[in-house]
Amino acid sequence: MLGEGIIQGLLETARNFFGSYVDKKRLTTVQYPEERWALPEASRNFPILLYDGPDPDAGLRCVSCQICEKECPPRCIHIVKSKDKKPDFAGKQQFYPAVFDIDVSVCMSCQICVEVCPFDAIRMDKVFELSTTDRFGGLLWDKHELAKSNEYYHTIHPTEAAECDERRAKELADAKAKAAASAAAAAAKAAQAKDPAAAPPPHSTNGSLASTNGAAAPGKSELPKSEVKGTQ
Amino acid sequence: MTALPAQQAPLAGGPGLPPVEDIKAKIEAGVPGAVVAVIHNASPSAQHSLLLDAEHARDVALFLRDHPDLRLDYCSLMTGVDWLDTETTEKVKVKKVVDGPDGSQQETEVEEVRKTKHPGYLEAVYHLFSMEKKHGPVILRLRTANRTDQTHLPSLTPVWRSAEFQEREAFDLYGIIFDGHPDLRRILMWDGFVDHPMRKDYVPPADDALHPGVHA
């Protein structure tokens, strides 16, 4: 019969139409903004800078190594290194960014800055309702607009944040243990030097380092390594 | 590392394709006068290519397409490449006659620094496969004499229609002029555009007042 194919197709449409009153799966429209779906945990939109503790300036993790600036494909990150240093979470003196700007109108949310950061300082936020009326200034975010606390990071990416905190705690503990061990070795050497029977070593400068703020230890190994999954 | 042999097998060759030197020999036998050189590829992909001379390129292409063992009926990719002028310096020991301190003439060995300028060229690279025999790639290269005034190459569009748009793109972005192309005009840039953007020495024009560029 002519038209049979059309009727078959219309039956299919009818099944979906009337079915949508009965079956939730056939009614796929989400009435945004009254109804919002939760974004998956891995979702990403634009970068944020993380800080530990209550003060964004004192606790900012970024040490201005500028690796993210170099690796960013559209070159939307602009960093100016500070002239002085401030102590980081392990107590070591580090540079910090005097200027850290991201031009969000250029950023393509590729997440490469997050992957290459060795200090867990930059992460991706999930917020997408970001429209502004200022086309140029409103989309150029500076350090203060980008800084978000570690607690906030826990609310948006709980699994990642927990794993990151665990790793940083372990690194801090390792650094402390190393400092304690070298302090003990220095104390032993100093005691040996006071002993008239033992020959004094020509330089016993290790003793001076033990008097710094405890956690810092010489050498490269206390810098937090990046835990980029499976890559180096 | 549990790497599999299948994924390590190089694409070059395939089960039925003879090695590139044999293909060169076939071409030299089948197209008299053709000048063919093997360009070795140092990367692990082992995809070596054949450098052809512009005069016989079209005949070689037809030969490769119609040869019963090769049947390279599918030109997958046509690429333009820009190689800039280079200069090599080498230290050469030459014997020279110099005046000695006492007025006599002596022959001594002197080290001279020789600078040779190698003109750059534009290159057209064709990747050929066979849909009939399911082998490939065979890579052909054609080079122009220089980058300025002698930038003509024969078009292989009459042999493989798939080169039509790609040769237009090489003309548009590199400035290689393909003789024999049915419709050689710009394809990606707009019609009034001057200059060839993909060249290595291309200087982009000024963007706007915020980014004046080098021309300002």
Partner: protein, 379 residues
């Protein structure tokens, strides 16, 4: 320029010739694409495609940055299929630098690539039927399934479309058991969806009358013009890069390659439907066999990859056709030459040949069956 926009020529014995510019602002040209069509009444006498409106100079950008920086830009080539674009580029770099890929990463790549192929074909059939006048119903059904696939991509890689997921020597992030279970919940429902989708319009008389015999592409012309993908197979040529090159682990999967008889629009439409079914088969096998293990080669450097000087051409079967990347390395951190083989652009070479003598209304559906995405045509 192809001449003035409106000119009235006379061809001996025929009527007047009218030149029409279809596009670039046109709802049915799948992007900013223009066709200068010369018509004699309703019949097409000449058709010249004009594109370059979306040219973003992707190749030069990739040559100015490191090898890693090009990966997010490849997402934006064929913007509907970012996973397969990433795979094509990573395959080319792996060939260039001699990098091996662990097994689990290969399985994950196959799973995401086949999901991409599924949502691309569903979307394409939806758009093709919309071009024919079905006003969006099949498109919305296709998008309903596509949304499920995009949600999976978001929970895996963080972004729905611009995934930036593959890396040299593997993938960026491992998929969790929860994610694999989600995919295992989705895949068994897909064959039923394809049945429903096909039933909508398979026997529809209007569809058959419009598409059968329209836009015919003869076999030899298809091979010579470098046409690849479902469009080539609709003309009866058995060439699928997954079967020819067996890249990755495709030789482990049992799937068929559908072939068409006539090379017309109807065959190309059916090609996509049949390929969707084969894709589901591959997904089932991959989900069954995926092993544990590392997801990336640990020896590969993320930053500062410097392949030895040389060149490589790597290609994959993307949903549009053969997507290839040709890389020339000069030993530095940036590629010396980076070239994309865009299947959409090369499939457009014979658009004129397919449309000559057809009505102008058929130009729209012939173009729709070619399956172009302007991000790939123009780069």
């Amino acid at each position: 320029m192809t001449g003035p926009l409106l000119e009235l020529d006379s061809v001996a014995g025929a009527g007047e010739i009218m030149e029409v510019s279809m596009g670039p602002h046109h709802p049915s040209t799948h992007g900013v694409f223009r066709m200068d069509v010369r018509l004699e009444g309703e019949k097409v006498v000449r058709l010249k495609p004009v594109f370059g409106y979306l040219h973003r100079n992707h190749e030069k950008i990739a040559e100015h940055g490191a090898y890693l920086s090009a990966i997010p830009y490849t997402d934006r080539l064929d913007y509907l299929c970012s996973m397969t674009n990433n795979w094509g580029y990573c395959l080319a770099v792996e060939k260039l630098a001699g990098i091996a890929v662990p097994e689990r990463a290969e399985y994950i790549r196959v799973i995401v690539a086949e999901l991409t192929r599924f949502q691309n074909h569903a979307g394409l059939v939806g758009f093709l039927l919309q071009d024919m006048g079905a006003s969006g119903t099949p498109l919305m059904y296709a998008f309903r399934e596509r949304e499920k696939v995009l949600d999976l991509f978001e929970s895996l890689s963080g972004a729905r479309m611009m995934c930036n997921y593959m890396r040299f020597g593997g993938v960026r992030v491992d998929c969790t058991t929860a994610w694999l279970d989600e995919v295992r919940r989705l895949v068994p429902a897909l064959p039923r969806f394809v049945d429903e989708f096909e039933n909508l319009l398979r026997a529809n008389e209007i569809l058959m009358a419009r598409t059968q015999g329209t836009g015919k592409l003869p076999r030899d012309l298809a091979i010579n013009a470098g046409v690849t993908g479902p469009m080539l197979r609709a003309s009866g040529v058995n060439y699928d890069v997954r079967k020819v090159d067996k890249y990755g682990i495709y030789d482990r999967f049992d799937f068929r390659v559908p072939l068409g008889d006539h090379g017309d629009v109807y065959d190309r439409y059916m090609m996509r439907i049949l390929e969707m079914r084969e894709t589901v088969k591959i997904l089932e096998q991959a989900l069954r066999d995926i092993p544990g293990g590392p997801i990336i080669d640990p020896k590969v450097r993320l930053r500062g990859l410097r392949p030895k000087a040389g060149e490589a051409y790597g290609r994959i079967e993307s949903p549009k056709g053969e997507l290839g990347f040709y890389l020339i390395s000069d030993g530095s951190t940036n590629p010396y030459r980076y070239r994309v083989r865009p299947p959409s652009m090369i499939n457009l070479t014979i658009l004129e040949d397919m449309c000559l003598g057809e009505n102008i209304a058929d130009v729209v559906i012939t173009l729709g069956s070619v399956d172009i995405v302007l991000g790939e045509v123009d780069r």
